[in-house]
């Protein structure tokens, strides 16, 4: 079958989709967007969390056909999504654009070159990358180890901060309880979300003062 849907703001068309394929499979194997992860493929770990019409869902539990005509945001589009939300005062619909070429520049390349090591300053690696506040906070707080849970956690945490900008620790734990992490013991993930909330708060105060 053919599925038409919007991914990171760009209209997409997936051909020859077998009816049993999940949204996760189509994103990873047909769209060249492997950022959403395949840790359990049974809806238990949250590593494949994406926004579907604004709602965080496990992409592994969504049949590809179900996204016909709908809007999906993945971790690859999170930075732009957050940027446009900040500029336009929220974009919960999920229709916050990433051009196709950009959306596909993450296609995994087995012959990927060397990693540039940062100097420890904000941003770590690629100095050109524009990150959303939650992405930057995950790096700064040391919330990333193996990183396999990270994309799902970023989508979930970003969504929580969208409707609850000043969460308590109990709020954070509740909002992220569907996302398993095996490396960190979650302490640095809590730090990262607190950090993103505090920076957002500070930015809000500064804007309010202007």
């Amino acid at each position: 079958m053919r599925v038409n849907f919007t991914v990171n703001g760009r209209q997409q068309e997936a051909d020859d989709v077998w009816e049993g394929e999940s949204l996760l499979y189509v994103l990873r194997e047909r769209m060249g967007l492997p950022g959403s992860k395949n840790a359990c493929e049974q809806g238990e770990c949250g590593s494949c969390t994406v926004r579907l019409d604004g709602v965080p869902v496990c992409a592994c539990l969504v049949a590809a056909g179900q996204v016909e005509g709908r809007e999906v945001v993945t971790v690859e589009g999170l930075a732009d999504f957050a940027k446009q939300r900040a500029e336009h005062g929220g974009c919960a619909s999920g229709a916050c654009g990433t051009p196709l070429q950009e959306a596909q520049r993450w296609r995994a390349d087995p012959a990927k070159g060397a990693m540039d090591s940062g100097t420890g300053e904000v941003g770590g690696g690629n100095p050109d990358a524009t990150l959303s506040p939650i992405q930057q906070a995950f790096i700064d707080a040391g919330a990333v180890q193996c990183g396999f849970c990270t994309p799902g956690l970023l989508i979930a945490a970003d969504e929580m901060l969208e409707h609850n900008p000043q969460p308590t620790d109990a709020d954070i734990r509740e909002a992220l309880s569907g996302n398993l992490c095996r490396c960190t013991g979650y302490e640095k993930i809590l730090d990262a979300v607190r950090l993103a909330a505090a920076r957002q708060d500070r930015q809000g105060l500064q804007e309010g003062a202007v």
Binding site: K37, P151, R182
Partner: protein, 797 residues
């Protein structure tokens, strides 16, 4: 490979305190941005034009003869390119294994455990491959099962492996025992006479899964030269290579491995999983083949932590001095050996814990059974022992009427203590101090779930299930401490290799570090860049992808990579530095006498004297030359343990952590909420303090998991796994995990690079017994098994 080995003696230097981003700073991960944008390419993200999907067919029974295999219907499916069984294996060598080559690439004649690979399919879509695999017809004739020590060693017991000819068969008492390591020191019988109190216990440790999130996966691409390029997630590229090449019938240089992104490991990637299978399918079909396990298959695709039965006896005088210890540790290795021999060595040599006991009688064995194969997992034999000896310490303290922490401190080992193996602990061992630190920390407030708005159920046992508002909830506090060896022990040649290059790029000096170290999330790549900055005085460091084009780095396990590959990077940097200074002397030595007379260091991109005078820019010294060194580096040698007495200098370094657990238990429903899990650990030197905390908190949480929730349940009647999913095998969520305050000590080990200590595993040891101790403290129950389930707390087991 054009490697350069040098023997030059480095100039005496006081190197590196001034360069930004060096060791001791919490620099950020070089792969952080890639990982938060979804750009980081994990092994399951690999993609190649025209690639096929591989699928493994696994046995549905635990122990059976294979009467027949019929692949014809599977082969006839549209979209199927190949179906392989044992008969299709191309080389003489058809087995592999970490320590013993006892594991068939595909089952031959019989299967020995549930989920053993029997056949492979390659097809153009993963679902086509799955459906074709389901059409392979296998007829089994079931055999009697070996599931525990009794059935393994009973007269006439069926042998899991017939005709063993490995090095261990000579000294084991039964062919269903992989390895046995006794340790005898002093005279336990005589010393027992001095004991005023004796405590005995029989303990059970459940089977834990590493549960790394990134499933086993990779891509094999056939090459024009008849070889294969393999992109895969592993812990040790070169060990994989040594096992893969012979069964493919290829020389090692024709199997080129590159590490792809690794989604966690924790021991579970030390063994081969899909590597050989993907290569076989790629070579057979001439097309790239990707294999990605789903979570169900992942539970069968790697070894687990050995479940264990542990029998302990401790004696003490009335004033609390330990007199003797006897113990027997029975580890279930399952159907194939994997790392069982080394796990036995660890379990026995660390079975006394971090305590001084002169008279001991120790025996550890690993069984061959028809249960799932078990091997490496974080803590590696020391975890099971720590659970038991710490339970014994609490039992002993109760019997003596002593404080459990004081009893531990009274008997705590320290630098200079003699281990039961006769080895001297020759670096700091602050066991009493880390216990003091966790104990002196203020306790979290009582009834913290209570507020003016009523009970916050999220902070109570049962959580959002809303099972209590505080009724029936009692609090308990428990302590534990452990000892873990660092690095490979028992005489293993534990080395690593680093290639370091220095050159000028875009007008700036840049160092490139190339090792085969598997970055599995621990942050080795971060630390390598820090070491290069410290040693070479540069800002820009490039970390080359890990592959087999450079010498072995050894395994990312045994808490060893920062020590050993970190040591190798440091060593190669020192050799590069010496060459750079030679170059400087040749070019500029005549202009300034200090080139010949002063102690020199590299700092901020310059050559500087110990007095701080700048002699020149690295850019001018190097110009268009690049200086490169590839060199091996090894830690102090160790010795094997004597097979009868267990004596020998078997370990190179130790790591110590202590925990205090605070729990609240709903005694009516048997639900446990861990409120806080405080840790103190000596790390020698924190090369990256932020990463150190991440390791300690992550390790602590895996220990918590096996205390209250994580267990692979194997049906004793069928030896089949009952819960291979994240629905039924539970790992801690953010709601299950408490605050983990950490106290880091830095007492340098003078034998190790920068004084550092391997840190990854120690926190996994003491976390579990501390939680168990706290639950015992809350409930008054004896609790001799882990994990604890609700029925163990409510008396309904």
């Amino acid at each position: 490979m054009g490697s350069t080995r040098t023997t030059g003696v480095p100039t005496k230097l006081t190197q590196g305190s001034q360069t930004k981003g060096g060791i001791g700073e919490s620099t950020l991960r070089p792969d952080g941005t890639l990982k938060v944008t979804g750009e980081f390419a994990y092994s399951s993200d690999m993609w190649h034009e025209d690639m096929l999907w591989g699928q493994t067919l696994r046995s549905t029974v635990a122990h059976a003869e294979i009467v027949s295999i019929d692949t014809s219907e599977a082969l006839a499916q549209s979209g199927v390119y190949a179906v392989l069984t044992y008969d299709d294996l191309p080389a003489e060598m058809k087995k592999y294994g970490l320590e013993l080559q006892d594991t068939p690439v595909l089952a031959h004649g019989k299967v020995r455990h549930h989920g053993e690979p029997v056949a492979l399919v390659a097809a153009d879509h993963p679902e086509t491959a799955r459906r074709a695999a389901a059409k392979i017809k296998i007829e089994y004739r079931e055999l009697p099962l070996v599931t525990d020590e009794a059935s393994a060693t009973a007269p006439g017991a069926v042998l899991v492996h017939e005709g063993r000819d490995d090095e261990y068969i000579k000294h084991v008492p039964h062919p269903n025992i992989v390895h046995r390591q006794p340790i005898i020191r002093g005279d336990a019988d005589e010393a027992a006479k001095k004991a005023d109190v004796v405590v005995r216990g029989e303990y059970t440790f459940g089977m834990q899964d590493q549960a790394f999130l990134g499933p086993e996966s990779g891509l094999a691409v056939p090459a024009e030269d008849g070889g294969v390029d393999l992109y895969v997630a592993t812990q040790w590229l070169h060990s994989d290579l040594e096992q893969i090449a012979p069964v493919l019938g290829l020389p090692e240089e024709k199997v080129r491995m590159t590490l792809s992104g690794v989604g966690g490991a924790f021991g579970g990637r030390e063994d081969i999983s899909m590597q050989i299978h993907a290569c076989l399918l790629a070579l057979r079909t001439g097309k790239p083949v990707k294999i990605v396990y789903n979570r169900f298959e992942s539970f069968f695709g790697h070894v687990h932590r050995h479940p264990a039965k542990l029998y302990y006896e401790h004696g003490a005088t009335r004033d609390g001095k330990l007199t003797h210890m006897r113990c027997r540790i029975v580890l279930d290795g399952g159907a194939y050996a994997s790392a069982s021999p080394a796990v036995v060595g660890n379990a026995s040599s660390l079975s006394v814990g971090p305590y001084v006991i002169d008279d001991v009688d120790i025996e550890a064995i690993a069984l061959y059974t028809n249960n799932p194969p078990c091997g490496a997992m974080r803590g590696f034999g020391a975890v099971q022992a720590c659970f038991a000896y710490e339970a014994q310490m609490d039992k002993l303290a109760a019997k003596l009427g002593m404080d459990p922490v004081e009893l531990r401190q009274l008997n705590a080992m320290e630098q200079g203590t003699l281990l039961p193996t006769g080895q001297v602990v020759d670096s700091p061992a602050p066991v009493a101090e880390i216990l003091r630190r966790v104990k002196s920390r203020p306790l979290p407030p009582e009834r913290q779930w209570e507020s003016s708005e009523g009970a916050d159920v999220r902070q109570l046992p049962g959580g959002l299930s809303n099972t209590t508002h505080g009724e029936g909830v009692v609090r308990g506090v428990g302590y534990a401490v452990g000892i873990k060896n660092v690095g490979f022990s028992e005489g293993f040649d534990d080395y690593s290799t680093a290639k370091v290059r220095m050159e000028v790029i875009n007008g700036e000096p840049v160092a490139t570090v190339h090792t085969a170290m598997a970055e599995v999330g621990q942050g080795g790549v971060t630390v390598h860049a820090q070491i290069a900055r410290t040693e070479l005085g540069v800002t820009q460091v490039t970390i080359h992808p890990a592959d087999t084009q450079v010498g072995s780095a050894g395994s990312s396990s045994a808490s060893r990579q920062t020590y050993v590959t970190g040591g190798a990077v440091k060593n190669s940097c020192e050799l590069v530095r010496e060459k750079v200074l030679e170059l400087g002397r040749r070019k500029f030595g005549t202009y300034h006498p200090a080139w010949a007379t002063a102690e020199l260091r590299l700092e901020g991109g310059k050559v500087v004297t110990d007095g701080g005078e700048v002699l020149g820019d690295l850019v001018d010294v190097l110009e268009d030359e690049s200086v490169e060194v590839e060199a091996e580096w090894r830690h102090r040698p160790t010795e094997p343990f004597d097979l009868r007495t267990g004596q020998g200098n078997g370990h190179v370094q130790y790591s110590f952590a202590a925990h205090r657990a605070v729990v609240e238990v709903d005694t009516e429903l048997g639900l446990v909420k861990v409120i806080e899990l405080a840790c103190a650990q000596d790390v020698g030197k924190a090369l990256n303090p932020l990463s150190v905390l991440g390791q300690i908190q992550g390790g602590t949480t895996q220990g918590l998991g096996v205390a209250v929730m994580e267990e692979i349940i194997v049906d004793p009647k069928t030896a089949k796994v009952k819960n291979p999913s994240f629905t039924d095998y539970l790992i801690p969520t953010i709601l299950d995990t408490p605050t983990i305050p950490v106290d880091v000590l830095e007492l340098a080990d003078e034998h190790a690079p920068y004084g550092l200590r391997g840190i990854g595993e120690a926190p996994t040891l003491s976390s579990t017994p501390a939680v168990l101790a706290a639950i015992r403290n809350a409930t008054g129950l004896e609790l001799n098994r882990t994990p604890v389930r609700p029925e163990h707390l409510t008396g309904t087991a």
